[in-house]
Amino acid sequence: MKVPLSWLKEFVSLPPKVTAEQISQAFVKVGFEVEGFEEQGKDLKGPVIVGKVVSIEELSGHKKPIRYVGLDLGEKKTRFVICGARNFKVNDLVVVAVPGAVLPGDFKISARETYGKISDGMICSAKELGISDEHAGIIVLPNGKIGADAIALLEINDVVFDISINPDRGYAMSVRGLARELSGSLRTKFIDPAKLVKPIKSSSSKNTKTVAVKIEDKSAADQIVIRTLDNVDVKNSTPLWMQRRIEKCGMRSISLAVDITNYVMLELGQPLHAFDAEFIVGGLRVVRAGKFNKLTTLDKVDRKLNPDDLVIADSKTPLALAGTMGGLSSEISGTTKRVALEAAHFDPLSVGRNSRTHNLSSEASRRIERNTDPALAEIASARAAQLFIDLAKAKLIGTSQVSTPIKARKLKVKLSQISTFIGYKYSIKQAKDALNLIGCKVTGNGDVLTIEVPSWRPDLNTSADVSEEIARIQGFELIPSTLPTGKKGAQLNYLQLRKRNVATLLANQGFTEVINYPFVNEEMVQTLGFTGDRAKSFKIANPMSEQLPLLRTHLLPGLLSTLSRNISRGAKDVAIFEIGTVFRNVSSLKKVELPGTSKRPSPKAIAELYATVPKQMLFVGGVVAGHSRISSWQGAGEKFGWDDAIAKAIEIIESTGNSYEGIRSDLAPWHPGRCAEMKVNGKAVAHAGEIHPRVISALNLPERSCAFAVILSELPAASKVSAPAILNMPAAVQDVALLIDKKIPSVELMNALKTGAGPLLESIVLFDRYDQIDADKVSLAYTLTFRASDRTLTADEVAMYRDQAIANAVKNLGAILRGNV
């Protein structure tokens, strides 16, 4: 809310010489964030004076119509100025900056020749004076004395604070509330403007023209006051002081009747609405829309009503969306004579729903949603009625109201409990002072305090609420800085540790981590060729962009896009990885009833609640393109290949303490002949290899880009490592070369050799592969290393093991011995 210092000062005493910055800090200290403040008139220097237009000469022959205006400034002679605006006539009062004046932007006014005339000053717009953005025309004053200082008349020298108000502090959306907070922060005197309002009586007790009121839905409102005013002179203009204050608060002056309701709302925090009573049939009713199905609101929008909307209706039609916006049919017009002035205490939730369902947030609805003071309906109504009487020559002819007695709420709190909760020992005086400053009455001098909660603070209910008020007003800076003492030791769990280790492993091997948005689209899913679970995406009801409405089912869409972005920015050799969650819509989502929050849900309800949340797996994925060993002055580097991607997946699996079984796979989006699937405990947990050429060209990726993906959350927790026995006896080495069918995966040959070689085989390493002997066969040569724990192996013994290994491969796979290498 925007609020001018001049208005605050009416209700709160300020220390002498206090600066705008200090006031700003005082607001911040008690929890009111000051977005900024504007020192109006700071860059404005007079003389800027009130003048009357005595003559207008239209100058033609220029690009736009120009006026040569004669002004009476109370000087001996008429002063003539050039003016481009047209929103004034002879006898209007205007604001004139005369030579010597300086306007904001260091605009010095002097007599000068223009359009063939001498212009001896300037008629000002609000924008030129730096008091609003209004520059549609010059200011035409409703009143003022010729020759008077316009800077004073317009109350230009002021500071306007822009304060953001937390949703629990509806009362502070008013000069009343903010002045109280400022006085609380500065510890200075506060005068409650609500207490300055004098009771007001109707001129006659029974008048048939008085508009009656009923609350038909008791859940919707508990207070409503309708004052009927007759003989309202709507043509009277809003006095300058009122107009200026409304403008400083960031609203626009519209007409006297509307301005009075807005002025009182800004001052006290109570929204009001003025109906043209001639258009009310029968009395007013606070009702749900029910069968009423349409209403045209003041903003000229035809609205379709929902049965649950809260409206003010007469006996025939809805006239206003209650607490939100008035209707066009009963709008105050230039011919209005009789006004029904409404002030009510509405249910915040109902008005909040009105506002949300109609996407219509108004100054009134914003205040009511955040709770208004129920005691204010009568007070604000009286205040506004008096302004109608004083400013629009109106006559109050009757008051109708429905009021529910407002009971003062009492809270009992223990000061010792509050001190323990905050961690600072407050004295009784500190507690009472703070609570008095926010409007509470406090009794009790021991540990137990009885607090009478003011009507505008429905948010004060618990000891914690009271703690906040005491701590806030006494200042959070009083609270000491301590650390809790009760905690036990802790460490990362296995999955957290795994995530960190895998990330560090990859980063230390030249991979760069990226964090992609998990949003994708159907086209991407199609391009990558995802099927099965990976084609089952969750759809976002309100995505950032219709281009990306789905949640990812895999990390590759994001990784491939990021690879492409890096390449397009000039990167040649790229290795990136991401660790992130994927979302697969594999069980159809059902309608869910949520439990209440007044107590802990039952174990069954908690289990059911957890079950409504789909399982989400944690993946690590990576893509590589270009060189793993980069080209340099020493020559060409080494290109990334399918094997690098597979090796990385294997390293990740093994780093978690798991062993895997690798097989060939044709999973998309990998190259069907160059993709490996890794299984742990029989379950596929990883895929790696070269990306399908079709995908490469569709996404414009570097040729032969490769990728891996491992489901980190599906890998079992590692079993404890058992330390190996390190054998010191000499090793014996044997080499063998075998021919096998090309279709047989090499891993099968290696496994056959391992099994045949027996327990003393320490390692087996493929050292040569040659496939030019035969179209169907490939030669694979291995080094077998044997070692015993207790003796040096003899040549004969080792040869025997080697022969057993070969025999097993020959028997099971049809391998042919090529002879010792």
Binding site: S467, N493, A503, M544, K590, T612
Partner: protein, 338 residues
């Protein structure tokens, strides 16, 4: 044959002179054959010892032995000299320019958000906290209801929250990591000390300071006699560890549905106050919804945006750098500086 003492001395002198005169290892090899080997004068004199009169044999033996020893010593010394001379010459020719570029592997790096998360996790583990994580696609009850954000609350509108179809499934992309706090309170009994880092979502357009997908870290403590002073001390420690010991913190009264009292925490960093995060004492309504005994326990909670923390800490001015995945960005952070 007879032996002449003078002759032996003369042979020795000549052998020494020849050794010292050898210019390189090749020359020394020849000198060795001529003066140190089996056919050298001294070797011959030694062979002739057998023919010498017995009475003189011991004395000549001594003379020849001492001459041989001296000769060997001189030879070894010269051999060393010449070897080292040869080595230094050869190594000189093998010299390379060691300032040539040698980096052949790619530079890797962790995303700085990961580095920051690790730092924060470590700092709180040091304080005895556990790290708690939860699903990003979350139930509305856990993301809102249990946190005292009822169905009519403005924060639940489509302007702020991503909802999943169908709406009746009541699933959202979590708007904070607070549902992890709720899960922790539902799953464990106090005392609870947890830190909850993770990915969060809000329907903000990506610009220099906003991103629809961001990261948060929240802390939750539930124990006996937990005070707002404990919250303040914990945040002080947190801020000093992340931003340096000179940083100052300030709590400012604020409002959150799930805490009472609530505060914003600001830090004074690089000469100005910067809004860092939100915090407060856990609202009783939240504790009640999770079944925590409010007579026995109280607690505090706090939450910070990690992107914001990162931007403040490293002076990053554009959010695009953090979200776009340009390898040059993360590479500059390595795996974190020790």
């Amino acid at each position: 044959m007879s032996l002449d003492q003078n002759q032996i001395a003369q042979d020795l002198a000549q052998a020494i002179a020849s050794i010292n005169a050898a210019k390189d290892l090749e020359a020394l090899k020849q000198v060795k054959i001529d003066y140190v080997g089996d056919k050298s004068p001294l070797a011959k004199a030694n062979q002739a010892l057998a023919t010498v009169d017995k009475s003189l044999r011991a004395e000549f033996g001594k003379i020849i032995g001492s001459a041989k020893a001296e000769l060997n010593e001189v030879f070894e010394k010269r051999l060393k000299e010449l070897s080292s001379q040869r080595d230094s010459q050869v190594l000189l020719t093998e010299r390379v320019d060691v300032t040539l570029p040698v980096q052949k592997t790619l530079k890797g790096g962790l995303h700085p958000l990961t580095i920051l998360t690790n730092e924060i996790n470590d700092l709180f583990i040091g304080l005895g906290y556990k790290v708690a994580e939860g699903p990003e696609l979350e139930s509305e009850w856990l993301n809102f209801d249990a946190l005292n954000i009822p169905a009519d609350h403005p924060a639940r509108t489509m302007q702020d929250t991503f909802f999943i179809e169908p709406l009746e499934a009541k699933l959202v992309l979590r708007t904070h990591t607070s549902p992890v706090q709720i899960r922790t309170m539902l799953d464990q009994s106090p005392p609870i000390y947890v830190i909850c880092p993770g990915k969060t979502y809000r329907a903000d357009e990506l610009d220099a300071t906003h991103t629809p997908v961001f990261h948060q870290v929240e802390g939750l403590v539930i124990d006996e006699n937990i005070t707002m002073a404990d919250l303040k001390g914990t945040l002080d420690h947190f801020a000093k560890t992340i931003f340096g010991s000179e940083v100052k913190t300030r709590l400012r009264p604020s409002f959150f549905p799930f805490t009472e009292p609530s505060a914003e925490v600001d830090i004074f960093f690089n000469g100005r106050w910067i809004e860092w995060g939100g915090c407060g004492m856990v609202n009783e309504k939240v504790l009640v919804a999770c079944g925590v005994d409010t007579k026995k326990y109280s607690g505090f909670a706090f939450g910070m945006g990690l992107e914001r923390t990162l931007m403040v800490k490293y002076g990053i001015t554009d959010m695009h750098d953090i979200v776009e995945g340009d390898v040059r960005f993360s590479q500059s952070f390595g795996v974190g500086r020790q």
